[in-house]
């Protein structure tokens, strides 16, 4: 198994089992985006995910954090982003919440549509859905909560089948 951590699978499992849930409240800055991405990569590396999946999880978190900070909170220093990571025993569940105006699923354009292919933006949610097993977007009115789930033991190839 080409996992992304150096420890044995059982050792990493035990290490991660001590962590049930961690949560961070972060400013609406690019530094926070980098912190969320880095934390995701570190936590995923402690779980029995393959290296490719660790990268995908970190990238999905980065994209979700960019959405929260840039499109949601619009870098407003009064607004915060909350990022939580939870080990459910068989999955890594990540929730990212912003305090912006709210994102509705039906407003997200399809970046693969011919008319959108050469647009500069609009690929973040698509990449998140490509990389995670489940993605749920909830409009909090105001604010948006996006939940990302990566199941342990589900290969990258089958991941897209279970996405929502």
């Amino acid at each position: 198994m080409g996992d992304c951590g150096g420890a044995t699978l059982s050792a990493r499992k035990n290490e991660f089992m001590t962590l049930e849930r961690v949560s961070y409240t972060l400013d609406s800055t690019l530094d926070s985006v980098n912190k969320a991405e880095q934390t995701a990569e570190e936590l995923a590396a402690k779980m029995p995910f393959e290296e490719e999946d660790c990268h995908r999880i970190a990238m999905a978190v980065r994209e979700a954090a960019v959405n929260a900070v840039l499109h949601g909170n619009a870098y407003d220093p009064k607004k915060k982003m909350t990022v939580s990571f939870e080990n459910t025993g068989n999955a890594l569940v990540i929730k990212i919440v912003d305090q912006g105006r709210g994102l509705r699923d039906e407003d997200i354009p399809d970046p693969l549509a011919e008319e959108n292919l050469l647009k500069q933006s609009g690929r973040g949610i698509f990449l998140i859905r490509s990389f995670m097993d489940e993605v749920k977007i909830r409009n909090l009115e105001p604010g948006t909560e996006i939940t990302l789930v990566k199941h342990i033991g589900q290969s990258s190839e089958t991941a897209t089948e279970g996405r929502q």
């Binding site: 980065r62 840039l70 693969l112 292919l117 050469l118 500069q120 933006s121 690929r123 990449l127």
Partner: protein, 115 residues
């Protein structure tokens, strides 16, 4: 690791060697400024060497698309060289792989530009 960029000229083609991360913020801005600078000098045959680019996010992808359309709209050509597997996969799933002219050999990439 932030992005670094340097350029060189070979047979009328400007090769922009990029390394590091092309992400929201610094990396994307560096790429945008480099393209703008080259077009300002009327260097419109541009080969982006991404061999040492370790990471691209959706903002970086957007910047590549923007560079491609900006150069094309000014009558130039922009091609990509030496994609890593991660960047290759990203362009595949976003259906951009066939939009860009992607090369894996510098010499043949230079020859592929319109004379």
């Amino acid at each position: 690791m932030t992005m670094k960029a340097s350029n060189r000229r070979v047979d009328g083609v400007t090769i922009l060697d990029l390394s590091g991360r092309i992400t929201l913020g610094e990396g994307s801005v560096v790429l945008r400024d480099q393209i703008r600078e080259l077009l300002g000098k009327n260097e419109k045959k541009i080969l982006l060497n991404l061999g040492d680019v370790t990471y691209i996010d959706s903002s970086g992808i957007g910047e590549l698309v923007s560079a491609f359309t900006t150069v094309r709209n000014q009558g130039g050509e922009l091609k990509l060289l030496n994609l890593t597997k991660k960047v290759h996969d990203l362009l595949q799933i976003t259906k951009l792989y066939t939009v860009f002219d992607v090369k894996d050999d510098e010499a043949s990439a230079i020859k592929a530009f319109t004379k």
